[in-house]
């Protein structure tokens, strides 16, 4: 079977069919699910995997999930209930020390049997709003992984097709949002079942031999494409470092992140040695399910940029193989059991940002300036009149750094994040919350440059009933870097005040857990702005003027940093601009 090459037409058809299966699985999951973090934000992943846990195909949902499921599968194998896969089994798994991305991302996995033989797996992961952790929704300031809520390891929700009602009851009894949790799990099961059905249809049509030969060829193709690109990067060690605000409890303790990229031939090692030791809170990164996945994503963005490829590469195991990751045991990127590790996103995003920075001397036309490289993950919760909890998880966006040929995009999910926002109107119709502001930041300027950094967002959410807010964010201190003469961006900030008294503002740290709110409390999140790329004096005066007209830039900033002089009617004073720019350079 291995020596048979599949003809190019069949290969393309199978490749297209696999992509479509993964997309369809993702569609069913987010269209059918109940919590906004899945249905609107699409914080999920779905795909097919072979019997050796290699990714065959994966949906284009959010990058943090893409590439994580093989680790879940390996972890599930080690912990599998009765040690064996049976036809009709449905597994639920989320143990971060057995491969999960983090505890709220539950995987549903169904083994695929074809004519009695195990040929692969259909699976998906989705972020659930509450699995019974110490505080509603998200969690940061806790002492160990047991405080993160229910841990599932290789558990069978269905055994040989029969639903395990005891397990279902146990899940329902241990969540503050049990209706949504159980229904979203059903949506995951429906999605995984669809994957099984479609994959079997594909094998029916093309035969097992041809199907798996094609899959192997497609994996090899993706691997070869990435190796060729790595080969073009000069061999060497490239290093960059930055720091994180705090661990969510010890406010004065900054946490270093050190990234060394070792390029050798057509392989890459990302070495995180020198980064902070593991923290006593949940601000740690599960190594298998998150840390490695982020490194894979970094190189796919940098070297196989979807916009510069004429033909997209298939999304499969091949793009993971050339990359290995080293993080010392006991460090923030590879904690020891039972350290908590729920809040892991911002560390991953910073790692990617620093990989880009490290490679900037050798890839000047591929890298971009510093991005927000953070996230704002907020959990709002409260009690309904009937005594049930409501929980809302919101992902807020960041901004990109300036780029070699264009400005950094404004107010958009950054690097490893790519969710969709929850429509303000949908939120207001269903929860006791009101959005008071959703706009570009106007309190700071983004990093100036020939190509400016992206402008961050400000989002103000008001809660109408008393409750709790937990917020996982970053970058209140370490400014996004400017590249090749571009200026640094701006740090983020988070404020809480009451709607009745918007003058008494409380400045919040980037991470806080279980903050008790009164009715009418507003949390205003300001995301970091990207750094600039290239000398601002080289930005065309007309572009600077356009930015001023659109209030992306003030007249003063145009003068001070860009050296552009505008008259009272906001026209460029060419002579004065030339003089000012000469003086400034």
């Amino acid at each position: 079977m291995k020596n048979n090459t599949v003809d190019p037409i069949t290969l393309q058809v199978i490749s297209g069919a696999l992509d479509t299966i993964a997309e369809e699985m993702g569609h069913v999951l987010y269209r059918m699910s109940f919590s906004s973090i899945i249905r609107e934000s699409q914080d999920l992943g779905a795909g097919l995997f072979d019997a050796n846990y290699q990714t065959i195909c994966e949906s284009e949902s959010t990058p943090m999930h893409i590439g994580s499921i093989p680790a879940y599968l390996r972890g599930a194998e080690q912990t599998l209930q009765d040690g064996e896969w049976h036809e009709g089994d449905v597994i639920v798994h989320n143990h971060p020390y057995y491969g999960s991305s983090h505890t709220p991302d539950l995987a549903i996995i169904i083994p695929i049997f074809y004519q009695g033989e195990l040929v692969g797996f259909s699976g998906n992961t989705a972020h659930h709003i509450d699995i019974g952790a110490a505080t509603p929704g998200l969690i940061i300031d806790v002492g160990d992984v047991y405080a993160e809520g229910m841990l599932f390891a290789g558990l069978k929700l269905y055994e040989k097709g029969v639903r395990n009602e005891g397990l279902a009851k146990m899940i329902t009894a241990n969540s503050r949002a049990s209706n949504q949790l159980m229904r979203d799990i059903e949506a995951q099961v429906a999605s995984a079942k669809l994957g099984v059905k479609r994959f079997k249809e594909l094998i029916d049509r093309y035969g097992k031999g041809v199907t798996f030969s094609a899959i192997e060829q497609l994996i090899n193709y993706s691997e070869k494409m990435l190796r060729q690109r790595i080969q073009e990067v000069p061999d060497g060690e490239y290093r960059a470092e930055g720091f994180l605000d705090d661990d969510g409890r010890n406010r004065e303790n900054r946490l270093p992140v050190v990234v060394t990229v070792k390029v050798e031939g057509d392989s890459v090692v990302v070495d995180l040695t020198g980064s902070a030791p593991q923290t006593p809170t949940a601000y740690n990164v599960p190594f298998e399910g998150s840390c490695k996945v982020a490194a894979y994503a970094a190189f796919r963005k940098l070297l196989l940029d979807a916009c510069s490829l004429e033909v997209p590469i298939p999304s499969n195991e091949g793009s993971f193989k050339p990359i290995s990751v080293v993080a010392p045991k006991g460090s923030i990127f590879n904690p020891n059991f039972p350290a908590a590790a729920e809040a892991r996103f911002t560390q991953c995003n910073r790692m990617i940002d620093l990989i880009i920075k490290a490679l900037s001397p050798v890839l000047p036309d591929k890298v971009i300036a510093g991005s927000s490289a953070s996230i704002s993950f907020a959990s709002y919760a409260g009690m309904k009149e009937d005594g049930d909890y409501w929980v809302f998880l919101e992902v807020n966006e960041g901004a990109y750094g300036g780029r070699p040929k264009s400005d950094g995009p404004d107010s958009i999910d950054n690097l490893m994040a790519n969710t969709r926002n929850n429509p303000i109107e949908d939120l207001g119709m269903h929860l006791p919350m009101i959005c008071d502001r959703y706009e570009l930041r106007d309190d700071v300027m983004p990093g100036a440059g020939k190509h400016r950094g992206g402008i961050g967002v400000v989002k103000s959410q008001r809660v109408l009933t008393p409750g709790f807010i937990t917020h996982e964010s970053e970058r209140h201190y370490d400014v996004p870097w400017g590249a090749f003469g571009g200026k640094d961006g701006a740090v983020g900030k988070t404020e809480i005040y009451n709607y009745s008294d918007s003058k008494s503002i409380k400045e919040m740290p980037s991470k806080f857990s279980g903050y008790v709110t009164k009715a009418g409390d507003v949390m205003a999140y300001y995301s970091p702005c990207g750094g600039g790329f290239g000398d601002p004096l080289e930005r065309s005066a007309e572009k600077v003027r356009e930015d001023v007209l659109d209030d992306f830039c003030t007249v003063e900033h145009a003068y001070e940093v860009y050296g552009v002089v505008l008259d009272a009617d906001l026209r460029v004073d060419v002579g004065a601009t030339e003089k000012r720019r000469q003086a400034a350079s």
Binding site: C307, D413, T419, E425, D550
Partner: protein, 695 residues
């Protein structure tokens, strides 16, 4: 009853005239083609209408109906030359259109473009925040509309020369008073401006999608409605009092007034006619799985039709130029590849064909209208696949020497190729570009082209058919009887169709008396709205067909599915039926139903249609023994894909009957189109005159 279908393409404007026994000239079908006038499409449309009447010797005032497929709205969105739009929006939310859904177009990219930021429909400088606040879930007013701010905003926009304004306030689907009042004020200050409210364009929850759809409407509105009104008055001036109708993106037709109000409904008007036409002709011979490729001078429109159906995209999935546009549209893609696509060598020495087109002015080099760049048509001339003396049946004078010269100078010499090899290269590249696009609309969605018939049409389609089918591995090629006017013919095969929606969020299982009464009123209003439009079109009530839909979801979900609403006034029983219909649809689509979950109504939709008279395409006479001999025009040399030059007979397709078999190499000649049958392929003419070419 005489009816004209007129379809405007990037290069040519195609027309079909169908007359009936009641008309002075008797029953018949006539075709015509004139060069498109890109600055003002109506010039060619008028010229074409007058000329086709002359051709048919029918008096212009006998024309009852004209159905028009136009690319006016599409071109504005592609060329990004719409109106400077102003927006009044809720204070605190100036950047909804800039932020969108904050999701990047690509997961794995650093250098991606964000079209809603780099090519905004409303620039930030023209988005003016207004103090006002409507609150969910009941639409109560927290902050009244600040009318002074509205006035000041309108005056500012007026000063800036803005001619098109949208009002987009949060929660206007719950309470439209502020939007409507703001519109009145804006209208009073800017009486000539094109002004629309988001609740009027698409009454649905989700602010970004609603504002974006409204912004697109206003962006294309002024130019599109100017064009349509202008065309209407031109027709009247010429003494043509026919009803003018437009093809909409959803495949139904509508009146001028409704399209001026909601031009967003005709963004895909042009390509929709092609898909409908392809569907019509394939259906005559019972072909259910087809890939339509409508190749004109400038672009190619591609759609995949499975099991005999035309696929309409869910409005939630519809995007135009990267902007969400929540209106129903036929699922199709358009690429810049056609007979006029220009071949050139780029700065890095790469051999490129398209997407730039020479259009009709200057047109291909051989047209001798001043064009010096070689096009796909020039390559076909050089290869003997198009005969210079047979272009538009000889009506179009072309000079093959100019084709050779252009290819030599611009492509062959810079690349060190012979003229023949350069011409073969042009064809190969353009075919490959089209094949990639066809794949993205078929193979990439898991469709196996080996089960499909490739249907090339448009003037330039059939000459590329076999090569494309080979590249795609389609099972055969089907060239419709009149390839050049397939789109225009499609315009005469579809129904009048109007849709209206109203947003109403409530749980159906526990619906309050108040909401239940609202639902009854809304359904009645929506029915009246679409019925009214159909009546305005002169449709009798007896011929109106209404489809009533409740777009529902389980409470807490984010995506709606459509449940049928039984006819007649809503009552408790019908409500129970709606709930059960929703459960069933959910189970059919996702394989699961949540019996214990509440069913939430989100939007009520009524679709009204009226069967129009359909084009009748008669069967062909049976082929007889001598047909081929009589149809033989002459033999000339033609170069095929492997570079082989063969003496190839040309047949007059109009003289061939049903059941005729033609072995390749051969060319079948028509007034505006040439079908190529390569060596090793066989063509067969079907009962209705479709040409089926296979290996």
């Amino acid at each position: 009853m005489a009816r004209i279908g007129v379809d405007v393409g990037g290069t040519n404007t195609d027309l079909i005239l169908e007359t009936s026994d009641n008309d002075s000239v008797g029953k018949g079908i006539y075709q015509h083609k004139v060069p498109s006038t890109t600055d003002d499409q109506s010039v060619a449309v008028m010229q074409g209408i007058i000329e086709i009447c002359e051709k048919a010797r029918i008096n212009k005032n006998e024309i009852d109906h004209i159905v028009h497929g136009t690319t006016v709205a599409t071109n504005i969105s592609i060329e990004h030359n719409g109106a400077e739009v102003g927006m009044l929006t809720t204070k605190g939310f100036r950047d909804i259109l800039h932020i969108g859904r904050h999701k990047r177009p690509h997961n794995f990219s650093l250098h991606f473009d964000v079209p809603w930021q780099t090519s905004p429909l409303v620039k930030r400088r023209n988005r003016i925040p207004i103090s006002e606040r409507v609150l969910p879930p009941n639409g109560d007013v927290e902050t009244p509309l600040d009318e002074e701010e509205v006035k000041a905003a309108a005056e500012k926009l007026k000063r800036e020369g803005v001619k098109s304004v949208i009002i987009g306030f949060l929660y206007s689907f719950l309470n439209r008073d502020h939007e409507i009042r703001a519109k009145e004020i804006v209208k009073s200050i800017m009486p000539d401006a094109y002004v629309c409210c988001s609740c009027e364009v698409v009454d649905a929850m989700r602010e970004y999608e609603r504002f974006s759809t409204t912004a697109m409407n206003a962006y294309i509105g002024p130019k599109t409605s100017y064009y349509l009104k202008h065309l209407e008055s031109e027709l009247k001036e010429q003494g043509i009092h026919a009803d003018l109708r437009l093809m909409q993106s959803n495949g139904g037709v509508a009146t001028i007034d409704s399209c001026c109000e909601k031009p967003v409904n005709i963004l895909m008007s042009g390509p929709a006619g092609g898909v409908i036409g392809g569907h019509y002709f394939a259906n005559l011979d019972g072909e259910k799985n087809i890939i339509t490729v409508d190749i004109g001078g400038t672009s190619a429109d591609i759609s995949t039709l499975s099991d005999g159906g035309i696929k309409i995209m869910n409005p939630r999935d519809s995007y135009v130029g990267g902007h969400p546009v929540m209106v129903p549209m036929i699922d199709l893609i358009t690429i810049g590849a056609g007979g006029g696509s220009v071949a050139y060598v780029d700065e890095a020495g790469g051999f490129q064909v398209g997407p730039r087109s020479a259009g009709s002015m200057p047109g291909p080099a051989c047209y001798n209208r001043g064009g010096t760049e070689p096009t796909v048509t020039d390559a076909n001339i050089v290869l003997g696949r198009l005969d210079p003396d047979q272009m538009l049946g000889g009506d179009l004078q072309v000079d093959p020497a100019l084709s050779i010269e252009a290819i030599r100078e611009k492509v062959a010499e810079p690349l060190g190729l012979s003229v023949k090899d350069a011409a073969l290269g042009i064809i190969k590249i353009i075919n490959n570009n089209m094949a990639l696009a066809i794949r993205s609309n078929s193979v990439a969605k898991g469709v196996d082209p080996r089960d499909y018939v490739l249907m090339p049409f448009g003037g330039a389609g059939p000459v590329h058919g076999p090569a494309l089918a080979e590249e795609m591995n389609a099972k055969a090629v089907l060239c419709p009887p009149a390839p050049g006017i397939t789109s225009a013919a499609g315009l005469l095969t579809t129904n009048l169709q109007y849709e209206a929606t109203r947003s109403l969020l409530c749980d159906l299982d526990t619906i309050s008396k108040n909401d239940f009464e609202k639902a009854i009123v809304y359904v009645n209003e929506l029915e009246e709205e679409v019925t009214g439009k159909l009546r305005d079109d002169g449709v009798d009530d007896a011929h109106i067909n209404l489809i009533r839909l409740a777009e529902c979801r389980y409470h807490g979900q984010g995506f709606e599915l459509r449940a049928d609403v039984p006819a007649g006034e809503l009552d408790q029983d019908k409500l129970a039926t709606v709930i059960e219909n929703f459960h069933r649809t959910h189970e059919a689509d996702y394989g699961y139903r949540f019996n214990d979950a509440a069913v939430e109504l989100v939007t009520l939709r009524v679709i009204g249609t009226s069967e129009s008279k359909k084009l009748t395409w008669d069967t062909l006479k049976e082929a007889s023994v001598d047909d081929l001999k009589e149809a033989l025009m002459y033999e000339r040399k033609t170069t095929f894909d492997d570079g082989e030059e063969l003496l190839t007979p040309r047949y007059n397709r109009s003289l061939l009957g049903a059941g005729q078999v033609i072995e390749g190499p051969a060319m079948l000649m028509q007034h505006d189109s040439t079908s190529l049958v390569p060596p090793g392929w066989v063509a067969k003419i079907s009962a209705h005159g479709n040409l089926i070419i296979s290996k």
